[in-house]
């Protein structure tokens, strides 16, 4: 009953600019969907369109199979948690949480029960009589969440609710939101620009850029099979290495040629897919964790690099290195274990795991399709 469907939804502003453009998306009842993208990509606008806080210019928007065009926010049965929390500063925590129920003319007893239950759940019971100004950032965030929960809406819309919290609290709240979703089973749309939130919280990521939806799918599938270089770089930190390359025919197989001297054989299972672009310049992509100090398979070729910097993070080490082969290649990043043995300035051999390689069109950045790998899980 609380599925959400966007059919060719666009939002055009009076100045002619588009907030979002031609969004087609179907969200199942009970799904936890992440809208991910850099600032200004239209993800918050889409959220506001669903909430009815801005009006759709063209296309149709359905919640629970009913068109929402012209339906005011109060009749859509959605709850929004804003980045600023938007707590009513003149009301106590309890009144903040009760406001939506009062507006819906719920009996006072029932309101009190619901507020108490939500406050219990979120550990806010001792704060009910405080005003928002007297709360810490984390507490405000919980009140905003509580205000959404008590209403038991069909859909929760989260607009970067974690971005004002410090790292530790953010990690905790990430987990709590996931648990909350599991308990309530409601549809949730969570907007964020944080890759970790995107990867870990939802059933599905929708990646937006410049007002358009460019890829949508389960996090690990999107991670393993990005549709273009933007997604490839945006979804992890450190981002995917992208190198200008040339794809050459080599007998029955194919070879990726990087710079003047580095030649890497394309794994057999990718050859059929890539044969069509043989002889052309391509962008070669490989994630930092797919580059190793030891060959992943005995036959794997490596290439020499000079270590530019080591970022030892305690649990892992990022190695930044300059391929030594001639031809202007950019620096690459490899993600090694915490026992990495390379030293800054040294020349070492790195071994790429080409099963995970990607090729992109150097002009458009679009991926050159190959059969997807199974996601790691």
């Amino acid at each position: 009953m609380a599925s959400i469907e966007l059919r060719g939804v666009s939002k055009r502003y009076p100045n002619g600019l588009y907030g979002v453009r031609d969004i087609d998306l179907k969200i199942r009842d009970g799904e936890f969907v992440i809208f991910l993208g850099p600032s200004g990509c239209g993800k918050s606008t889409t959220l506001r369109l669903i909430a009815g806080l801005e009006s759709v210019t063209s296309g149709d928007l359905l919640i629970g199979d009913q068109s929402m065009v012209g339906v005011p926010p109060r009749d859509r049965d959605v709850a929004v948690v804003f980045q600023s929390y938007a707590l009513y500063p003149h009301m106590t925590v309890a009144a903040n949480m009760a406001f939506g129920l009062k507006m819906r003319k719920m009996p006072r007893r029932e309101i009190a029960t619901r507020v108490d239950r939500a406050a219990d759940l979120l550990g806010l019971s001792h704060l009910l009589t405080r005003k928002p100004a007297a709360l810490s950032g984390g507490q405000r965030q919980r009140v905003a969440l509580g205000r959404a929960i008590v209403r038991e809406p069909k859909v929760f819309l989260f607009d970067e609710p974690l971005s004002n919290l410090d790292a530790q609290l953010r990690a905790e709240m990430r987990l709590e939101l996931v648990k909350l979703h599991r308990r309530l089973g409601r549809t949730i749309i969570h907007v964020t620009h944080d890759q970790i939130e995107a990867m870990t919280m939802g059933d599905r990521i929708c990646i937006m850029r410049e007002g358009r939806l460019i890829q949508s799918g389960p996090p690990l599938e999107v991670y393993a099979n990005p549709v273009d270089t933007f997604v490839a770089r945006f979804l992890s930190s450190p981002p995917m290495n992208l190198l200008p390359a040339h794809l050459e025919v080599d007998g029955d197989g194919l070879t990726v040629k990087l710079g003047e001297a580095i030649r890497l054989a394309v794994p057999e299972r990718h050859v059929p897919a890539y044969r069509a672009v043989a002889g052309r310049p391509v962008t070669f992509g490989l994630r930092p964790e797919d580059i190793h100090e030891q060959p992943p398979a005995p036959t794997q070729q490596g290439f020499e690099v000079q270590v530019v910097a080591l970022e030892a993070l305690g649990a892992e080490t990022n190695l930044v290195a300059q391929p030594t082969a001639s031809g202007a290649l950019p620096e690459i990043t490899a993600r090694l274990g915490r026992q990495a043995r390379a030293r800054t300035g040294e020349t070492v051999t790195l071994y790429p795991d080409l099963l995970s390689m990607h090729l992109f069109d150097p002009e458009t950045g679009a991926v050159i399709p190959r059969p997807p790998l199974d996601a790691p899980r």
Binding site: P73, R74, A79, V80, A86, P89, H90, F99, G100, R104
Partner: protein
């Protein structure tokens, strides 16, 4: 919280200069007022005396209260309060519309500001004409209307700035919580804006309370406000400086008291929407 001391030898001299300047400015501002206060408490015969040990007396205030002054005081209260109460709702609605919507564009906003720049004398004339026609001169109602018109652009401008400082998220939250647009304004924006409304109201009150020109043109003996009454004391019977000083002190008193009470609101309100 921040002090920029620790800049070496220069800092002592600099601090001294800053303080000296501040004290000078404060004296320039405050000395005339202190002089008026002193004169108001001296018997008329000693008004111009420079003897600091002269005995104080309330005779000026007594003389003032036996005349028309209490009536003027009441008139001023009614007119200033009435005009603010009349103008505030309109100013709030317009200011809110200006702050939230693009309605009217920069032109509408600027023309509101521009009317603030007209010499009051300019407006006084047509208003006098209109009031003659409408039989409103020499009535308190007329003064209230005139001051409401005077206050309207001023209050609109102030409140526009204040409403701009209130995040639209608050209204959005109320609207998804089940309120209509009007409900969001009434239950959330308005209560949150109370400091701003209070501050604007006080400033409007002061504007009306102090206004002289319109009061002079539009009022008669029974509807004279304090500034007119004070002026009359100065001109009609020769300069009765003691009475005038006493009147001035009384005129300032409610402003001081009121503003002292709502100082917090004014400062909050004038930082334009420090909601958080």
């Amino acid at each position: 919280m921040t002090d920029s001391a620790g800049q070496g030898r220069g800092s002592g001299l600099r601090l001294l200069l800053t303080h000296a300047l501040l004290i000078l400015v404060c004296l320039v501002i405050l000395l005339p007022l202190l002089w008026v206060l002193r004169v108001s408490l001296l018997p008329p015969s000693l008004s111009y005396s420079t003897d600091l040990s002269a005995p104080l007396s309330l005779v000026n205030f007594e003389s003032l209260f036996s005349g028309r002054f209490p009536r003027s005081y009441l008139n001023s209260l009614v007119v200033a309060t009435g005009s603010v109460l009349l103008a505030l709702p309109f100013a709030a609605a317009t200011g809110y519309a200006f702050a939230r919507f693009t309605t009217g564009g920069a032109v509408a906003r600027f023309s509101v500001l521009a009317t603030q720049m007209l010499p009051p004398v300019v407006i006084a004339l047509p208003i006098f004409q209109m009031f003659q026609t409408l039989d409103l001169s020499n009535t308190l109602t007329g003064l209230i209307l005139a001051y409401a018109a005077l206050n309207l652009p001023f209050l609109t401008w102030i409140l526009m700035g204040f409403f701009k400082g209130i995040p639209v998220d608050l209204e959005w939250a109320a609207m998804t919580d089940g309120a209509t647009a009007w409900g969001a304004f009434w239950r959330v924006v308005l209560p949150v804006s109370l400091p701003g409304l209070a501050a604007a109201g006080v400033l409007g009150f002061i504007l009306a309370w102090n206004e002289f020109l319109f009061a002079l043109i539009l009022s008669g003996p029974n509807t004279a406000t304090i500034p007119v009454a004070l002026a009359a004391l100065q001109t009609s019977n020769g300069i009765q400086i003691g009475d005038v000083a006493a009147g001035v002190v009384l005129a300032v008193l409610p402003l001081m008291i009121a503003s002292r009470f709502i100082q917090r609101f004014i400062v909050e309100g004038l930082t334009l929407g420090s909601v958080k």
